[in-house]
């Protein structure tokens, strides 16, 4: 087995997949419900990581950092939607306009952080931990925590979407907002909840992303955005379960490939996978091709 795939890289892959899953599910959940392509997502991750870092600096625990990042991400996303994105949508800004607005927002956030804190790296102070050895894979206790957190969050999100009334309302809104509204679903509140959830996942992902690498800078989140988008598209945009599968595939593919070639090509592999899938199935693995086809409605 070791001859075919280096098992240790599979371990890295699982960690990357966990971080990616948190981010990609958050990204796709919001896109599915609100139909706004939020290109500020990566920069919000950075901002949340910064908040988590702040808690870390003043001596907070890991759990407190995660919580702070998640709460910040949730509130920031909801506010961003309510006071920036939604007003633009109501103002009549269409598809492209909204893409530009979210991209602008990301650039503003990123450069605000850069201007305020400079181009230096922030380093999380993490207590030296033991490294565990599991069937040829190596994990630090932090990485165990990241994987555990990701699995727990994925289960919660899946249960929420499939088992609760709120989840059904979200899926109904994603499928057909007008119909959902007629059926008595308070779509505005559903959309708020979608942004809160997406933001919380974004915040968590931001904190665990920098926990794994221990240092980050103003562009870290945005650099990760491309892989998030690739994972979401791979699974079919707007499909949380698809994003999860996409994240696992890309996480493992990127890290395993890094064992064979320059590690800086990790993202290139993500891209190659994405292109192949798009050529064969434009809607992604779990997506519906008709949903992403052009239409001017």
């Amino acid at each position: 087995m070791t001859a075919v795939v280096p098992v240790y890289s599979l371990g890295f892959g699982l960690v990357t997949a966990s971080i990616l899953a948190l981010a990609a599910v958050g990204f796709t959940l919001q896109f599915g419900v609100t139909n706004i392509l939020n290109l500020a997502f990566g920069d919000l991750m950075t901002a949340s990581a910064l908040v988590g870092y702040g808690v870390n600096v003043i001596g907070g625990t890991l759990a407190e950092s995660l919580l702070a990042g998640a709460v910040f991400g949730a509130i920031a996303s909801a506010l961003l939607n309510r006071y920036v994105y939604t007003p633009f949508v109501r103002h009549g800004t269409k598809l492209f306009g909204m893409v530009i607005v979210t991209l602008s927002t990301g650039i503003v956030i990123q450069n605000f952080i850069l201007g305020w804190f400079g181009a230096n790296f922030f380093s999380y102070k993490v207590a030296q931990t033991k490294t565990y050895h599991v069937v040829g894979m190596y994990f630090t206790s932090i990485q165990f925590m990241i994987m555990g957190l990701a699995i727990a969050v994925m289960i919660v999100v899946q249960l929420l979407l499939t088992q609760t009334r709120l989840g059904k309302a979200m899926r109904a809104t994603a499928a057909n907002p007008a119909l959902a509204q007629i059926s008595g679903i308070a779509t505005d509140r559903v959309i708020d909840v979608a942004w809160l959830m997406s933001g919380a996942l974004c915040g968590l992902a931001g904190v665990v992303l920098v926990l794994n690498t221990t240092s980050f800078q103003s562009t870290t989140g945005n650099d990760f955005l491309v892989v998030i988008i690739a994972a979401a598209m791979l699974g079919g945009v707007g499909r949380p379960l698809g994003a999860l599968v996409g994240a696992v595939i890309l996480g493992i593919a990127t890290e395993v490939s890094a064992a064979y070639m320059s590690p800086s090509y990790k993202e290139v592999i993500a891209f190659v996978v994405l292109v192949i899938v798009l050529l064969v199935r434009p809607g992604g693995l779990f997506g519906n091709a008709d949903a992403v086809r052009s239409s001017n409605a």
Partner: protein, 262 residues
Amino acid sequence: MSLNEVPNVPVQSFLEVRDLRRDFGGVWAVDGASFEAQSGCITALIGPNGAGKSTVVDLIGGALRPTSGQVLMDGRDITALKPHERARLGLVRTYQMSSEFGRLTVLENLLVGVPDQRGERFRTLVIGKRYWREQEEAVLVKAFGLMDRFAMSEKRDEYAGNLSGGQKRLLEIMRSLMAEPKLLLLDEPMAGINPTLARVIEGYLSDLAKEGLTMLLIEHELDVVDRLCESVVFMAQGKVIATGKMEELLKNTGVLNAYLAG
């Protein structure tokens, strides 16, 4: 009124739909639809909401691919053709949602209607205006003629996006006529517009039929269908329930009940 009254004139079926099926994630929107539309007259496609009428038009126009079945136009199987290829054969459609080119003027909307213009070819980049000037002039003459006929001259330089709902529908029909269609698919051209303009559009459609244009019309108002259409295809739940003349269908209480129940 009916062509069938003259036995010696063979009635040609210009459009033939054979056992068309289309599913959306396990739900059959169209489940084995077969019918024909005769040359030179208006065929109505009626049925309750969700009967699959618009899907049938999408399948005939090529916007959707059928899961199975065939579409034949003028005896030729066009099932595999893309929408723009069908349009070039003379099959033009309008949409249920208004689909004007909003930031083009009314006149420009019409000018776009002519398929395969020289000025659209890439060699216009090399040769320049002299390559297409003459044809453009002819297209303009045609567009002005249509605006005159449909009393839209005053709106010539208005952005199509600023027109009223009814004017947009009219513009769409005019734009289709620029293509000199052999078969025109009309998806509820009079829905949601004021009754006066609806009657005007009905009059235009009737004139076009007299001029020999073959049309397939989705329409909810049975009076309109009765006045305009020689033959009617009645659909429900993705299937063709009955075909025939309107009065025959009205006699058939089963059909009417299905319609009212919808």
